[in-house]
């Protein structure tokens, strides 16, 4: 089967899975609505102020959209960081990039930026800058002549992550806590409903990052030959690395700005896809967008229902899956290369 056909098939299967999980997420929840009531609200037949309408359209639907966007963006960022560093364990949270973005967001909140669309753009800019800063620091620490050291990269990511987490703690300690309403809950990765205008901004930024990485997918494959060989094949390696680096930081920063640092999605989803689709980034990047959405929607639905009527943060669910998964990969598949 040609690569194009395999991609179409994978997207069809994943798209179907996304529909099913999204439907589940809309119909399940602590409000105890009957499926018929939810359907009525979705069809616009319930009154605008009715309970089923408010819960379905103003709480659950935006949350489903945010989860799908965040999951897709994080999974694509994972594929990008893995291709860029030629390190199978690279991922926004492992590399400390999420922590850098979170630092940017806390800083933005101290400056008083909130959730209206324009202010959300400001928060996203801060998060993007933080992500770039953290990723740049990791890159500089791990760079050796001729490439990136695999082990040093992971260590540098951990160290940079710890540094920015400490910086966040300092900010929270010195600033009046009331000005940082909900920041602790947000720091755990939290898919609170986002206003429609902000949601549109979220989608736009995520799409921009995704587009840049998709455009670079074939060149990312060539980078597996090594930077020198890729250059000799006609790839402008320096420009490619800059472009993918900025795009992956944009995806990470955007997700952190709107939903908080949700870990390990960029590790778990790409690896499951690699098992089925192989290593071709031209298949992985688009598939990761949809599969990431499926994964985070499922995780969020679990987070909302498993301890109902209370809720877990979705970041806790992904960390509970992701951390053991990371250890498993470290101990089995990549033992030889580390």
């Amino acid at each position: 089967m040609s690569a194009g056909r395999r991609l179409a098939l994978a997207l069809a299967v994943l798209g179907l899975a996304l529909l099913i999980v999204a439907a589940l997420a809309l119909f399940l929840g602590s409000a105890g609505l009957s499926p018929r009531a939810v359907a009525r609200a979705l069809a616009g037949q319930a009154g605008a102020d009715s309970m089923e309408s408010v819960v379905t359209l103003q709480l659950r639907l935006p949350r489903v959209a945010a989860a799908a966007l965040a999951g897709g963006a994080l999974a694509v960022a994972g594929v990008a960081f893995q291709g860029l560093t030629r390190n199978p364990l690279a991922e926004p949270s492992v590399l400390g990039v999420s922590s850098g973005a979170a630092f940017g967001v806390v800083l933005a909140q101290i400056f008083g930026l909130g959730l209206s669309a324009l202010q959300a753009l400001g928060v996203a800019v801060f998060a993007f800058a933080g992500a770039l800063l953290a990723a740049g620091a990791v890159y500089l620490i791990a760079r050796v002549p001729g490439g990136l050291s695999v082990q040093t990269l992971l260590l540098a990511g951990v160290i940079v992550g710890i540094f920015f987490t400490s910086a966040i703690t300092v900010l929270i300690s010195v600033v009046d806590f009331n000005r940082l309403g909900g920041v602790v809950h947000w720091l755990l990765g939290n898919l609170a409903p986002i206003p429609p205008a902000s949601l549109a901004l979220f989608a736009l930024l995520a799409l921009a990052g995704f587009g840049l990485i998709l455009k670079s997918a074939r060149e990312l494959n060539l980078l597996a030959l090594g930077e020198e060989a890729a250059t000799q094949l006609g790839v402008d390696a320096a420009r490619l690395k800059q472009r993918v680096f900025v795009a992956a930081a944009l995806l990470t920063g955007t997700v952190v700005a709107f939903t908080g640092p949700i870990g390990f999605v960029g590790l778990v989803v790409p690896h499951m896809l690699r098992g089925v689709l192989g290593q071709d980034n031209r298949l992985l990047v688009p598939a990761a967008l949809v599969a990431g959405a499926v994964f985070l929607l499922a995780a969020d639905t679990l987070a909302r229902t498993v301890v109902a009527p209370a809720e877990l943060s979705v970041g806790i669910v992904t960390s509970f899956c992701g951390a053991p998964f990371f250890v498993y990969l470290l101990r089995t598949r990549y033992r030889a290369s580390l």
Binding site: S2, A3, P145, N221, E228, T231, L233, G234, V235, D280
Partner: protein, 272 residues
């Protein structure tokens, strides 16, 4: 008409920290490679052979002087344009490398249409022909990492042929190969050159391979051109010994009439 490749008084030095880790300097290097010939750059380890290759493929830029392709300075060519003219078979295959042989060979089609997302049927046809030519077509679906050293080398050669270059550059092509594959590689180079009219540049410290397959040889020593000419002229005891810093003997291959170079092993004194 200008030669295919021209080095004009090229000098190059790596920045200091890299130099200590094995980067070397070149000074006043001038030579030309004519279209259609098999040319070889030989010399001891650390003579600057790999640096010369990097200058030619624009991985690094010359500090002084100019490298020209068809009379045009290569600094003015886009990377993809250069890759349509020059293909390199590197010394080592990358590891880890997660792609199959066919995916590897298809990568050689990139410079011909960098904007294309998936390769076209024509690209797949070129890749198949290249794999056929180097005898790896039956391995197409296997991961490169599962191949033996000789098979990997031929897969890398197929990738370079799929690039359809005018100049094929090979960096130490026989370094990891046993005798049979060395012979096959030499035969394949001759065939590519004779049938396809491809110019070949061989970078190697295998003097005898260079002597057998090359029209002209350039001997590099300490970052300078020590001697250029036909193998019989360059591969002489008086020329080689000062550059390599050891005693050699040069014989003649009775079949091909080409020189054969050997280390003049010191004979151990008789045991008492």
């Amino acid at each position: 008409m200008s030669p295919l490749v021209e080095f004009d008084d090229v000098a190059f030095a790596y920045p200091r920290p890299v130099r200590r880790e094995g980067g070397f300097t070149l000074a006043g290097v001038s030579f030309a490679i004519e279209e259609g010939e098999v040319f070889s750059v030989i010399g001891p380890n650390s003579a600057g052979k790999t640096t010369l290759l990097r200058l030619l493929t624009r991985v690094v830029a010359a500090g002084r002087g100019e490298v020209r392709l068809d009379g045009r300075p290569i600094g003015r060519l886009a990377h993809a344009e250069l890759a349509r003219q020059i293909a390199v078979v590197p010394q080592d295959t990358p590891r880890p490398f997660p792609f199959s042989v066919e995916q590897l060979v298809l990568m050689g089609r990139y410079p011909h249409a960098p904007g294309r997302f998936f390769e076209s049927d024509a690209d797949r046809g070129h890749a198949a022909a290249a794999m056929e030519a180097t005898g790896v077509r039956h391995l197409a679906a296997l991961p490169l990492e599962q191949l033996s050293g000789g098979e990997r080398q031929r897969a890398m050669l197929a990738r370079a042929l799929a690039q359809q270059p005018r100049l094929l550059v090979l960096d130490e092509p026989t370094a990891h190969l046993d005798l049979r594959y060395q012979a096959e590689t030499a035969a394949l180079l001759r065939q590519v050159n004779a049938a396809g009219g491809m110019t070949v540049l061989l970078v190697s410290h295998d003097l005898n391979l260079a002597a057998e397959v090359c029209d002209r040889v350039l001997l590099l020593g300490g970052g300078r051109v020590a001697c250029t000419g036909p193998p019989a002229e360059v591969l002489q005891r008086e020329v080689l010994e000062p550059v390599f810093g050891c005693a050699v003997t040069v014989d003649v291959n009775p079949k091909s009439g080409r020189p054969v170079v050997q280390v003049a092993w010191p004979v151990p004194s008789a045991r008492r």
